[in-house]
Amino acid sequence: MISEDERREVASVNQIPARLSFTALSKTFGATRALNKVSLEVLAGEIHGLVGENGSGKSTLIKVLAGFYEPDAGSKLSIDGAPVRLPWRPGDSSRYGISFVHQDLALIPSLTVLENLRVSDLCLSPRWFISWKAEIRAAKELLEEFDLDLDPLMKIEAVDIGSRALLAILRAMDGMRKSQAGLRAIPAAFNAANASDFAGSYPKNLGAAEAVEQRRGLLVLDEPTPFLARTDVERLFTLARRIKAQGSSVLFVSHDLDEVLALTDRVTVIRDGTVVGTFLSKEVSKADLIEQIIGHPLSMESGNASGPRKLPNAAPAIAVTGLTGEYVHGISFEIREGEIVGMSGLLGSGFTEVPSLLFGAIQAAGGILKIGKISCSLTDLNPAGAVEKGIALIPVDRRGEGVVEELTIVENISLPVLKRFGPWRLQHAKLKRATKDLVRDFDVRPADPENRVGNLSGGNQQKILLAKWLQTNPRIILLDEPTQGVDVGARQQIYRILKEQAASGTMILCASSDYEELATLCSRVLIFSHGKIVEELAGTQLTKDAIAQRCHVG
């Protein structure tokens, strides 16, 4: 492990001010402090890793850098040694040569490679005439420079996912270069002064202008790899290293510690909104990093604080074999009657896809679902068929797929059971009474059945969804991040409801990236990596830390 002193030493070798330096960066949301006096330095010509658990403050930091969040007073940022006035507006960062590639890549599939590469230029330039010939030539040069074999006139939807990621990086890179031209003009006085300062101390005796040139740009890669295949990850690394070789810096945000250790020069660990430390990548081990990320040392047999959990003895009541989708490849597992089985893994490992596949909400490419003695092919399953089989899905996108916010609680809750209120006409009074009972049982607040669901908090909306499905007495409940955006109180109520439901014999599958939730709720947790189940945790092994550790080991 590297101490703070050693880190300073590393920095001082270069004698060049850090490309990016945050000091005392804090960000408070209401009562929660997402970032607490964070210091982060990305040196010139360095690939710097940023790692931490979900909710550790990583993405808040990136959003502050991008100008989406305004940091608290007292936070300081300097770029190439010059203090920058905070907060800055979205877009300001690009003026300082900082470019972002986010996970969704922000490419428009129906447009061509060329149009995507040049989108900001084409849309924002005040030119009267676009010379497509010149544009194509420039795009070709850029693609060739980085050995990307793509036709500029090809549509993005025809480009493989790996090349798309590279393309997004190239675009960011191009934007970075363009902003350098502009940057030279803006703080010209400062740059000139500074450049001559270093000229003497710069190790390779480069001229001042060249030194300036070499110091430019920071590329932020915000989890670009989870959906990429191994070979594409390699290509991405090669590109990142070439960008570094040209003198730019890269900030690489990732969950995958192997990747971080392979690519970066140094890595900063952030936990609970504070920086735990910055380490030299070639001197830190993966185990050390995991320990830093989750906060304390891990032994493989770490005890379970809540005591061993008894596994239900019943025979498996559902069996899934060979389930294949876009992100999962031929996985098989069983759930016993009355069991709550958890699924977890890193982003992109495929576990989030499983509930939707088992419900037919996403078409599976293969797999058999066996409920009791009845088998059905998952490729033919659709949601209507799943509901008939007694399967219920509570989707992660509550507001887009779970409830209709502008409709009332009665309307939302009663949708799957309207037949009970027939036969000739819907008995609205009876419907309202039944809903009233349900919202009381599930402690929805406020308990007015005529209230629009959009007026409720996330936790209460989730209770509405549970009530909607539990009244149908499902055999299997599929949950996708069941307490995302749910407050602590409602969370406990939801856990209690689910445990009661399981105790009455219902089978529950819970995909979640909240390790504490899985440890509280589940009798077994399946760990996913690269579309496969790599480990099963049960009994005394089933702790929050163990899940975290297994997820990162992959």
């Binding site: 419900f359 509901v387 989707p395 502008e406 309307e411 949708l415 309207l418 037949k419 959009g454």
Partner: protein, 321 residues
């Protein structure tokens, strides 16, 4: 929500819900005062009530498709084509009127099915599909009629639609009223109505609840087509003739009324009663200014303005929710 349904909140809900009816009554009183003894006479009232039945039925068809989040721009074209088909079959070819009416309903069904094929199976935008299908129907209308007006449609139909009266109002008014009641029943008191509502609001939520979304959408389009054909039948009975153009102008007032209707009775939702009230609100408004001696171009100003205002209002209603 007990804590914030203050008496003011309740009042504003009621104003929103019955505002159109209040405005309607105000409009009647104002025009009556402006033309005493000419506007609110039984003959004028019953004439307006009867003559708008075609528009009522067409508007109700639009309510179905709009509630399912689709636009049916072929509605008036179906009406005109069915009108012409009845005239050609009954007058030119001597087909008994009963068969001619059945053929018209069959056309409505078929057009609904064709629309649904392209919108649901192929996955095209409803606006484009129905615009194209409507234009094809307009062409077919001109073709089968040789671009001529045909008169002399079955007396029986004319009598059953426009001549026979109950309480002094032509039968066709009651046909529109019955259609409204049936649609109200289906939309508000059956599971199908609820499915329609959810499919229109969020196909994804509907699908994940186990509703067969495509089937609901197809059913909506087909019934809308049948209602359009029914409007064509009433139009044949009202005019006793068929001409290839004039019925097409019903589309815009229909849209205006459907959107206007969605701001009242059940604010924020396309609903049958609100739409029917809106049809008559607009019709009496036009009748009132016409009696004042204003020229007929006012009709376009009125309906066009009403459409824009109605859509604006319905957006405002949605935004406050």
């Amino acid at each position: 929500m007990k804590q914030n349904t203050s008496s003011f909140g309740k009042l504003s809900v009621q104003v929103e819900r019955y505002g159109l009816i209040g405005a309607f009554i105000l409009l009647l009183l104002v025009f009556n005062a402006a033309a005493p003894g000419r506007f609110l006479t039984w003959s004028n009232v019953s004439a307006v009530l009867g003559s708008q039945a075609v528009l009522v039925v067409l508007t109700l068809s639009l309510v179905i498709t709009l509630a399912t989040d689709m636009y049916d721009l072929s509605a008036a074209s179906v009406l005109v084509f069915c009108n012409m088909l009845i005239a050609v079959l009954n007058v030119n070819l001597g087909v008994p009127i009963g068969w001619a009416l059945l053929a018209a309903l069959g056309v409505g069904f078929t057009v609904g099915w064709v629309n649904s094929f392209f919108i649901i199976k192929v996955g095209l935008n409803s606006l484009i599909v129905t615009l194209g299908v409507g234009t094809i129907l307009n062409g077919l209308t001109l073709w089968i009629s040789d671009s001529q007006t045909i008169s002399g449609v079955s007396d029986l139909l004319v009598h059953l639609v426009a001549v026979y009266r109950l309480f002094g109002i032509p039968f066709e008014f009651y046909y529109g009223l019955i259609t409204c009641i049936v649609l109200w029943y289906v939309m508000d008191f059956t599971a199908i109505g609820r499915q329609l509502l959810f499919v229109g609001r969020s196909p994804q939520v509907a699908r994940l609840t186990g509703i067969k979304v495509e089937r609901v959408q197809r059913t909506a389009l087909i019934w809308a087509g049948v209602l359009n054909a029914f409007a064509g039948i009433l139009y044949s009975g009202t005019t006793g003739a068929a001409d290839p153009g004039s019925g097409l102008t019903y589309l815009l007032p229909g849209m205006a009324a459907a959107f206007f209707g969605s701001t009242s009775i059940a604010p924020g939702r396309f609903n049958p009663w609100g739409s029917v009230i809106a049809v008559y609100f607009l019709a009496f408004g036009i009748s009132g200014v016409t009696i004042q001696g204003v020229q007929t171009f006012v009709q376009n100003l009125f309906y066009g303005g009403a459409l824009v205002i109605a859509v604006t209002l319905s957006q405002l209603v949605k935004r406050t929710r």
